[in-house]
Homo-oligomer: 323 residues x 2
Amino acid sequence: MNEYEVIKKFFYPLSSKKLSLNLDDDAGLLPSKNQIVVATDSIVEGDHFQKNEENPSLIAKKLIRANLSDMSSMGAIPFGYTLNLSIPKKLKKKKKVNWIKSFTKGLKQDQIKYKIKLLGGDTVVTNGSLILSITLFGYKKKGVVRRSKAKINDDIYVTGNIGDSGIGYKILLKKLSLNSTLNSFYIKQHKLPNPPVEFGKKLIFFANSATDISDGLLADLNNIILSSKCGAKIYIKNIPFSKQTKKLIILKKINISYLLTCGEDYQLIFTAKKKDRKKINYFAKRNLIKVVKIGNIIKKKKLIVLDKDNKEIIFNNLGFQHF
Amino acid sequence: MNEYEVIKKFFYPLSSKKLSLNLDDDAGLLPSKNQIVVATDSIVEGDHFQKNEENPSLIAKKLIRANLSDMSSMGAIPFGYTLNLSIPKKLKKKKKVNWIKSFTKGLKQDQIKYKIKLLGGDTVVTNGSLILSITLFGYKKKGVVRRSKAKINDDIYVTGNIGDSGIGYKILLKKLSLNSTLNSFYIKQHKLPNPPVEFGKKLIFFANSATDISDGLLADLNNIILSSKCGAKIYIKNIPFSKQTKKLIILKKINISYLLTCGEDYQLIFTAKKKDRKKINYFAKRNLIKVVKIGNIIKKKKLIVLDKDNKEIIFNNLGFQHF
């Protein structure tokens, strides 16, 4: 199978025929009716997904979902993406085609789930670690939600549960082992994040500021307060953990500072005025997701984390460091 | 230097403040006045650029230029890009900052040369080969030039010279060695391609079809005729080679089939009606580039290459195979 055949067989069915120009050109088009929001994200083998992952459809889904998470935090409506795919050079021809088949199957399932289409892309092969990127496009509604617009006294909210993905990562690295049910629960949280995309589309109706939790809850909240030139006070007792994780904390199998800094939760952290509490609960219920208030924006330019006795906890490290 | 400082110091000066939202958010915006053309391309360490390249500004320029080449072949006007950067994990902190400093210097120089701005991006570190991607955005003028619209009897044109980049690649791989002047001439052609971006913006006024020469002249021409459901007849004697390469051919240091299939020329191949010859020459002169006619589009669905005695040459391989 040559490149032309691979594109026709596996990628053409994923494409927006009109915008991708049938994937038959050096570039594609974007629709011109609305202003467009663009986000891009890369994932790396060994960091964001397992080395020699046997199920490439999971890589595809993680790639799409990590990007949707960025787009969600802006309150935009995703509609399409371009793909920069790298595939392992070492695979023999037939295995390479099977790899692409599984990968594109994952893309297809998530395209349907999230209502997006492929607009174009580029493929390379590599001897080294795979690095895959997506550039995702969304329509802007009346505005976008910025990271820098948190207001003093805003409530701070988090969606979903924090830390499950990070525990899964520890298990994959064999730095933690639980029973097989728990192992698979956490590994699934790591491999297949579930960003609250539909809820994200509603952010524009109530959020003053937002970002997604990819580097770790503390690091991402810190980005909000740095950009917004304010501070935050949050309470450990309010941070949403899954019931499985609550047990691990009690059993001292995992420590809270890891959960707040491990990242890759792909949940949202946002701030909103007190008067919007009802609206937020309404949208949370309608989208069947957990949204909890974890603290407040304060004037003092500092990130304050309080334990169950309201004592401040000091962190040496707020989260994932890129450099 | 943490991520926040690196972005502020090295990337913020490259950005469109308005569209990138000061690089302070999870996504950026695209302008809404024209329809937008989008192209994306990835380059891999060891293939598109040298392993452990000591001058990262060259990597930046190759990345930008490979993408501009795609955009040019559509006849669009590039204005901005998002960047997916991977940097070597193995570099110590200070060297990493120097790497980024040199890389962003290269970006800056090419941003000025080609009138484009940074709109957003994502950075990862990797232990393996670097893979870098750009997604480039351009305005569509009255239309775009498609690969699939070649017409029977069209003239086939090529810009610039063919094969110099491929010779440079052979030299870097130590599969060929010439004198030091020639070595540096060819290596420069490989490391620093020079796509005819300004001329590309004019394609819309005369080209029926176009693509850029990245996989090899024959492979890319073959893409045009496959998409356009026609054939092509080209003459070796008309293919543009640099004077240095002409000498190497005579001395039998390099063979022509390599030159036509090695790829990474980042020149344009396009087809146009006979009546547009004057117009094409006018734009070629105005943009100070070489544009030569190498053959014609024919009805028979075949790529025919004729030698100096008008005998057909058979190629086993048309160019770079992605899979």
